[in-house]
């Protein structure tokens, strides 16, 4: 029972975005993909979410052939850098979306949905904002709503693409702590993309340092910091 990424390759035209990325992380762990821009971390995340397709390689998660499943059935919550909230829906409708699109036999009753939305808003510390529209929220609030929306489907996997990239330092720190708390509470496997090493090391159980579509080093933050395996890793961490 683990997340196994095995030599995943992906080319955009002739540019290799992923060049045989591999790692194994236990289920329920918090993994940070860390690296400079163009290192392939977002591509790997989007492949895990089913938004991009690998040319070759395999991913196994929860004993499933992960890459053979469409995004819709993976039950993997995705949080985007630019929030990607549904602009025309209220906060409550945004969060409830994943529940309302379920087939009738698995769809909760509307009372249950309302209760779930209230719970989730409390969890992301935005109680009482059900009726607002995304345009009436600050960046930090929007990302909290996006997180609540991703959690509403009770995901097996939580994928975050530089979720705090557009926010200021203070809000980033608050959200980071909240994210870790929510991860522990929900018991999901979380993969978190960032180019900010301080953020990656502060929040994750395991860090994958990426370069040129490959994973340079994979391990616990303390180990990676103590024994950088390659010149690139030590240089990247000292920057």
């Amino acid at each position: 029972m683990s997340l196994t990424v095995d030599s995943v390759m992906k080319k955009f035209g002739r540019f290799p975005a992923l060049n045989g990325a591999s790692f194994v992380a236990p289920q329920g762990s918090f993994v940070s993909l860390l690296g400079p821009s163009g290192s392939g971390k977002t591509t790997l995340l989007r492949i895990l979410g089913g938004l991009e397709f690998a040319d070759s390689g395999a991913v196994r998660f929860a004993d499933l052939n992960w890459l053979d499943m469409p995004a819709r059935t993976r039950n993997a919550g995705f949080v985007f850098q630019q929030y990607a909230l549904f602009k025309h829906m209220t906060v409550a409708d945004n969060i409830a979306f994943g529940l309302k699109v379920r087939p009738r036999n698995r769809r909760p009753s509307s009372a249950d949905i309302t209760r779930r939305v209230t719970e989730l808003l409390a969890l992301v510390q935005l109680p009482g904002l059900e009726g607002r529209y995304p345009s009436q929220l600050s960046g930090g609030q929007r990302q909290r709503v996006a997180l609540a929306r991703a959690l509403a489907i009770e995901p097996r996997m939580l994928l975050l693409d530089e979720p705090f990239g557009a926010l200021d330092a203070k809000v980033r720190k608050e959200l980071r702590a909240d994210l870790r708390r929510i991860h522990d509470h929900a018991g999901v496997t979380t993969v978190f993309v960032t180019h900010d090493q301080e953020e990656a090391f502060a929040v994750a159980d395991l860090v994958a340092v990426m370069k040129d579509g490959r994973i340079e080093q994979f391990g616990a933050p303390a180990d990676v910091r103590r024994n950088p395996k390659t010149a690139f890793v030590s240089e990247f961490l000292s920057a």
Partner: protein, 295 residues
Amino acid sequence: MTKTFLNGRSGSRRRSFSKPTEDPLWLKLLLGGVAIAFIAILLLFPLALVFSEALAKGLTAFWTAIVEPDSLAAVRLSLLAAAIAVPLNTVFGIAAAWSIAKFDFPGKTFLVTLIDLPFSVSPVVAGLIYVLVFGAQGWFGHSLADHDIHILFALPGIVLATVFVTFPFVARELIPLMVDQGRDEEEAAATLGATGFQTFMRVTLPNIKWGLMYGILLCNARALGEFGAVSVVSGHIRGVTNTMPLHVQLLYDNYDYSGAFAVAALLAMLALLTLALKTLLEWRYADELAASHRR
């Protein structure tokens, strides 16, 4: 604190600097005047003339010219052709814009060029295409005649010509809008478990509804007013295959000026109604519009 601040200010004389983005008054008046004169001479004046000519012999004469059977037949045919062509082009336009904006595939640029084709091809040529394909001497002319199917000089031909000419309106309105909105929301919907159809109905369509409405209105206005392409395929059979614009010309050529202007006024009124409807919708839903534009 406040006092010294105020005192300090009152000491210096206030000088008025013009803003770097502000133009001198004479230039503003000149440019504004030119624009207004241009609109008045080229748009408002001719439009007013159409209505005044139509009503020159009084309201009764206007009414008689409209309810004359051939004129009524032309109105009915125009409305019917638009009622078929506009929904078709709405569906085609959404399909084309959706595939171009949300997916990558080879030949995408070529498809965009194809969509623009009706804008660049003369409507007369568009009409002739159908004559070449469906006419008595055309490719399918004989087999169609054998099966007693009438396309040219009948409603199907008029609808086909209208569809061709008005095809780009909805698609052209939606493509930049959908490209600008990107795929983020659709991707989010997919990760939340929505099917393609649910994503389209609940996410894509609400985001484009204003652009779509605008495209449909423009498409409708053009469908009602199309002259060239329809003229080639219609055959100008009075009371049978004459649309409103064709009927205006026919009356005018027969020196029936009051009749021609009466039908022209009705046509212009339909166009004004379209514009009024659009303005009303924009005004009624101003808040929602603003909300969906901001991110």
